[in-house]
């Protein structure tokens, strides 16, 4: 209800300007408020887990802070990610990105994956830093998420990892590059996809994964 009240002034202005087409989508509905209340007041892990899953279906921007607060929870972090992955509002992606600095281990890996699933372009610099920082211990997960994001900026980072990154990260970077190349090709940039795959071929010694890259590169040669 507090969140609803806080939205009223902005909503009124927007209505007067005639630019609100889906006001109901931005307001917490009773079911969402109930789930939010469970998240913030319950001490029962099952209730909180269930609330996260409900918010994955019905939650809006108002649910983001409560979900983000659970990202460091050993058992509930993945439930919270379920909610944040599904809420399309930019605030959900921003909350995941901001959480990166304070997390480690599985919780950090999970949040990085969610950023990849959401294809959060703004997270590319953060993921680049994590990919190149061996001390954080999540380099492979970071490059995997860059592959899921699959933009030209993400592809550039993957090329950096392939050409100048540690040798033990190259297979993970190759796997991520295959996913990124598919995104690039499907979104009208086969040249960038080809360039990325050629980086894989150059970076890897002959073998199964290099052969996969060669096959995909050959397939892309016919696409403009």
């Amino acid at each position: 209800m507090i969140a609803f009240r806080s939205l009223l002034p902005a909503l009124s202005i927007a209505l007067l300007a005639g630019c609100v087409t889906e006001p109901a989508a931005t307001l917490p509905n009773p079911a969402e408020e109930k789930a939010l209340a469970a998240l913030t007041t319950s001490t029962d892990a099952h209730e909180k887990a269930r609330a996260c899953q409900e918010l994955a279906v019905i939650g809006g921007p108002a649910a983001v802070p409560a979900l983000a607060a659970l990202l460091n929870d050993t058992h509930l972090s993945d439930y919270a990610r379920s909610g944040l992955e599904a809420i399309r509002a930019p605030a959900a992606g921003e909350a995941l990105r901001k959480a990166l600095d304070g997390l480690q281990g599985r919780q950090l890996a999970g949040v990085m994956n969610s950023l990849g699933v959401r294809r959060e372009k703004a997270a590319v610099p953060d993921l680049r830093a994590l990919a190149l920082d061996a001390k954080r211990g999540v380099s492979a997960e970071a490059v995997a998420s860059l592959g899921l994001i699959g933009t030209t900026e993400a592809a550039k980072v993957l090329q950096q990892v392939l050409t100048a990154g540690p040798a033990d990260l190259r297979i993970a970077a190759a796997d991520a590059s295959f996913v990124a190349a598919e995104h690039l090709a499907n979104e009208g940039n086969p040249a960038a996809a080809r360039g990325l795959l050629e980086s894989v071929v150059r970076a890897l010694p002959p073998g199964r994964v290099a052969t996969v890259a060669q096959n995909h590169t050959a397939a892309l040669r016919t696409r403009r």
């Binding site: 989508a25 099952h46 887990a49 269930r50 899953q53 994955a56 279906v57 019905i58 058992h75 509930l76 972090s77 993945d78 439930y79 990610r81 379920s82 992955e85 599904a86 399309r88 599985r106 919780q107 890996a109 999970g110 994956n113 969610s114 699933v117 997960e141 995997a144 796997d175 295959f178 996913v179 598919e182 073998g207 199964r208 052969t211 996969v212 096959n215 995909h216």
Partner: protein, 424 residues
């Protein structure tokens, strides 16, 4: 393409440009299978169904089973003993970590028969490792997983066969062929038998976790969200829980029966464009006008099907109908439809011919009957239909984008976060 011993031998001989002189026994004469023609198999998560599949694999002369990964000690020991007894050696190794199996260069293919929560992730990891894959059904928990699995199989060029063996069971094949060949006239309705739809969000009471060496609960959960341990789950009673059983149990039999309906309706490359539930029945509509009816069946003859048995299907055209089920029997609207002879009675649960199809495709690199493409769409139909049922209203679906049309609420149900670090 895998770089296996078989491929190496083939390519090395050509590259050296010289005749290969190999002993007859090594070429498989006198009934022996040449080492170069053997298919080295590993297993991941083989419970009762998985061991049934393994038995079918071991009955094939070229299969050599060498490793089992299972999070339950009792299960992996049973499989190890079973394999060693069959081969007459002590070569099969057991581990609770599937990476130990996927990381072995000598293994050509894997049999995956974990619980549903692991199927897609384990298959994707296997594809990344270059292994050919036979994976039990349902192969995915969500629409997104169905897509990711098929994409990974294509990406790495491996052979994939879903454990939807009815595509290779005689009466089901005969029924689908009657529909596809036009002998039933223009097909207007296909019926898929399903189990009751259910979806529990409850947690069983917490119990003390066993030692990981005995039952590794963390790995048992894998990509599914955490919940406290209870022995019932690992004893097989995980079905019906949302976190472990995707699609409100619709894919449990729908992975078979909806898949067969897709095949019979010549709809393997598409999906229905709308779904609407009425109680425990869900109606799908293809753009072609064909209706897909997903209706109750069961273990005790539920649903008024003509042919007795589990996993029934019925295909109706304007010139006749056919029905088939797991008893191996078939019923037709007119005896003339059986003029090519009644198909041999074979249990619908028998994977023998399906396993043979998979092994042949490992050698030929052709696509088996339940390949990644048909599996992708058949599973997407199951999941999309179950989302319509959950929402309790009609939903429109786009077969090309594989998403709901102008329906953000439904589209939010197409994916779930996977528990870290099992993201594949």
């Amino acid at each position: 393409m895998n770089t296996t011993r078989r491929h190496f031998i083939k390519t090395a001989a050509v590259a050296l440009g010289m005749p290969t002189i190999i002993p007859a026994s090594a070429l498989g004469k006198n009934g022996a299978v040449a080492p170069s023609n053997r298919i080295v198999l590993g297993g991941i998560g083989l419970g009762p169904r998985g061991r049934g599949d393994l038995k079918a694999f071991l009955a094939q002369p070229e299969v050599q089973f060498v490793a089992i990964a299972d999070v339950q000690k009792a299960r992996r020991e049973v499989v190890r003993v079973m394999a060693n007894r069959h081969h007459g050696n002590h070569d099969c190794v057991e581990t609770r970590e599937m990476a130990d199996v996927l990381g072995r260069d000598d293994i050509d293919a894997v049999l995956i028969a974990t619980g549903d929560r692991w199927h897609a992730v384990a298959s994707i990891l296997a594809a990344k490792a270059g292994k050919d894959i036979y994976c039990e059904k349902p192969c995915s928990m969500t629409i997104r997983e169905s897509q990711e699995l098929a994409d990974a199989v294509k990406r790495y060029g491996v052979v994939f066969q879903a454990g939807t063996q009815r595509r290779n069971v005689d009466n089901f094949r005969y029924a689908a062929e009657l529909a596809r060949s036009g002998r039933l006239g223009k097909i207007h309705t296909v019926h898929a038998g399903i189990l009751p739809l259910r979806e529990s969000h409850e947690w069983l009471p917490a119990q003390p976790e066993p030692a990981p060496e005995v039952i590794d609960w963390d790995r048992w959960l894998g990509p599914a969200p955490w919940r406290p341990y209870n022995k019932d789950y690992v004893d097989g009673r995980w079905r019906g829980y949302y976190d472990f059983h995707g699609g409100a149990a619709l894919p449990e039999w729908g992975a078979h029966t909806i898949d067969l309906c897709q095949w019979a309706a010549s709809a393997d490359s598409t999906t229905p464009v709308a779904f609407e539930a009425d109680g425990q029945t869900i109606y799908g509509s293809y753009a072609s006008g064909v209706k897909l009816v997903m209706r109750l069946s069961g273990f005790k003859g539920e649903g008024n099907w003509v042919v007795p048995g589990t996993c029934p299907v019925r295909f109706e055209g304007d010139a006749g109908w056919v029905e088939a089920a797991d008893t191996g029997k078939i019923a037709v609207s007119t005896p003339a439809l059986l003029d090519k002879g009644t198909p041999a009675e074979m249990a619908g649960t028998d994977p023998t011919k399906h396993v043979r199809d998979f092994l042949d495709c490992i050698k030929s690199r052709a696509k088996p009957a339940a390949n990644e493409d048909v599996t992708r769409r058949g599973h997407i139909v199951s999941h999309a239909a179950s989302i319509g049922w959950r929402l309790g209203r009609k939903v429109q679906f786009d077969p090309v984008s594989e998403s709901f049309v102008n329906d953000p609420e439904a589209n939010r149900m197409c994916s779930r976060a996977r528990r870290a670090p099992w993201h594949a």
